[in-house]
Amino acid sequence: MPTLHRRPSSPPSLKCSPEAFLLPFPSSLTPFLPSFSLPVPLLEINDLRTWFHLRDGIHRAVDGISFALEKGEIVGLVGESGSGKSVTGLSLMSLVSQPPGRIEGGSAVFSGVDLLRCPAAEARAIRGRRIAMIFQDPMTSLNPYLRVSEQVIEPLIIHERISRAGALRRAVRMLEAVGLDDPARRLHQYPHEFSGGMRQRVMIAMALITGPELLIADEPTTALDVTVQAQILDLIHRLQRETGMAVIFITHDLGVVSGLCDRVLVMYAGRIVERGDVRDIFRQPRHPYTRALLRSSPALQPKGVELATIPGLPPDLARLPAGCAFAPRCEVATELCRGRDPALQEVAPGHATACLRVQAGAI
């Protein structure tokens, strides 16, 4: 399988540590100084807030999330419906309909550019070329009226100076890279001639044809059969290793996250409630919601035993309670939890939680 065309990353990295310029030592001693270059995160999100102004109130779909994504990292964004995970991805891509949505605040800095504040032309140059997104339902994400060829070459025609013939050649190589048989013939077919798994492969081809540095995958396997899901996850994993791109993988499936992701962000009611390395999150979950999710998963519970459940329902995002949003459903919540709004805080190296009681060492 051919490796993918990979755009050179920009900006170029520094060739020596910044500190060398500041210290009054002769240059002959600089080899003895520890040399390191500070890694600049590929994407740094700070206090992102996306609210929807609807008739019955303001729905705080994303309510203050912050995280950094390194180059080549695979981060899982996990949560149930209404947690804000999809809206986070859409906000980064400027795909939130405004109105009724509005990016109320925060920043999302990608390679020195704030995606939330840059001019539209700059956003267009990044979206589809350096950051790509794939969606859940391949049945509705591809245009049924156009041949696959038109859809797969579209990113190239828009973002690169390339002839149509050249673009079509790249498209055939891309279809082969995503594992489609007989790619030259398949290229000229319509989406309805493909199965669900194959359409998802086409969507991945479209997303990766420009060699993006970041792929946002919004539940790409949820609508697929489980054997096809396994193939698509393998594909994404292989492509990530080949290209070195970063991936934000949005899902509700803890199993998928275990296999694919390096780090995990658990979301609830528009906030990140826990953040950490994948193994730490599963071995030692440090938020009652994460613990409850793991306990209610049938795969992890012995047969015959009643599954642990989380009582009640997720909160109405237009009427969030004061204090911790999870407190009404939390079995270890105290008065303090209901009164104070918890912030995400690191409690172990690389492992952060937004639970006041865990932060205090009580649980």
Binding site: E80, V226, A230, K303
Partner: protein
């Protein structure tokens, strides 16, 4: 001593395909269900698993006679449902009920919850009008909802709550068997757990039989006593749920079990996986011989010609694979 509630014998449901708008010539047959024999005992939970296109939903509809069977028999508590008249079917529907996958589509949006639950009681004249309110209140309590919810409409509820209402409606007639077609697939994990627990409690308390159709093996292992695995209209493996999923014998079951991501990074990243190539086949163009052979890592020449029968492979286990004794403990070729 348990007795059989439902007996399916060689059930087939074929749909003719007609091509063309005017001439309507025959264009082949979709063999959605292609020879299924199953028995569900009283008080048993039988899981039916398979991917899209395997025929599990069509089988559910065939059992209920929502779609007529092309061949074979469906017997409910000793009564033949296949080819039965309207009177027999009305009686049968008291004993056999269904819960559907989409909680947003299966409740009539223009009927209050009370009306939806009272309707079966009134249609089947199960109790005098004066008692209907009390029975509806009992049903709502049974599924964990307060009786005052009866005056609300479906759109006022979440997916999980609507599914509870659908279960209450299925229980209204006190059936012997409930067919649940992917009842938790559209729900979040934490809500899924609530509904699965509810089913478990009802089965135990009311000695109900349950045919639980799903694609989710973790769910089926948790709730079922036995499980049947379907592929392209046929059962390929049948046995105790935990056994079949922990020690699958049929190559397709092995691939299916292997495909499921396990929510534990240490396990998930190190386990040996069997990833199938290709897509699930179309029931319009089934492969010759064993339907699974094009994707099977163990296929041989004879698999392309012989249709394997569902045969006893071990205590309590039936498998439709002619090579099952040779391959059960070895890795793929």
């Amino acid at each position: 001593m348990s007795e059989p509630i439902l007996e399916l014998t060689n059930v087939k449901t074929h749909f003719p395909v007609r091509r063309g708008a005017f001439l309507r010539r025959a264009g082949g047959t979709v063999r959605a269900v292609d020879g299924v024999s199953l028995t569900v005992m009283r008080g048993e939970v039988l899981g039916l698993v398979g991917e899209s296109g395997c025929g599990k939903s069509t089988l559910a509809r065939t059992i209920l006679q929502l779609v007529p069977a092309t061949a074979g028999t469906v017997v409910l508590e000793g009564r033949h449902l296949t080819g039965a008249g309207a009177k027999v079917m009305k009686e049968a529907r008291r004993r056999l009920q269904m819960v559907f996958q989409d909680p947003y589509a299966s409740l009539n949006p223009r009927m209050t919850v009370f009306a939806a639950l009272a309707e079966p009681l009134v249609v089947h004249r199960l109790c005098p009008r004066s008692e209907v309110a009390a029975r509806v209140a009992d049903l709502l309590t049974l599924v964990g909802l307060p009786p005052r919810f009866g005056s609300k409409y479906p759109h006022e509820f979440s997916g999980g709550q609507r599914q509870r209402i659908a279960v209450a409606r299925a229980l209204a007639l006190q059936p012997a068997l409930i067919i649940a077609d992917e009842p938790v697939s559209a729900l979040d994990v934490s809500i899924q757990a609530q509904i699965l627990n509810l089913f478990g409690q009802l089965v135990r308390r009311m000695h109900l039989s349950l045919l639980f159709i799903t694609h989710d093996l973790a769910v089926v292992k948790h709730i079922s006593d036995r499980v049947a695995v379907m592929y392209l209209g046929k059962i390929v493996e049948l046995g105790p749920a935990a056994e079949v999923i922990e020690r699958p014998l049929h190559p397709y079951t092995r691939a299916l079990v292997s495909a499921i991501p396990f929510p534990d990074p240490d396990v998930e990243r190190t386990r040996h996986r069997l990833v199938l190539t290709g897509d699930p086949p179309s029931p319009l163009h089934p492969p010759a011989g064993c339907a699974f052979h094009p994707r099977c890592p163990f296929a041989q020449e004879r698999c392309r010609t012989a249709v394997p029968p569902l045969a006893r492979a071990a205590d309590d286990r039936e498998v439709a694979c002619i090579r099952v004794d040779e391959i059960s403990s070895s890795d793929p070729v």
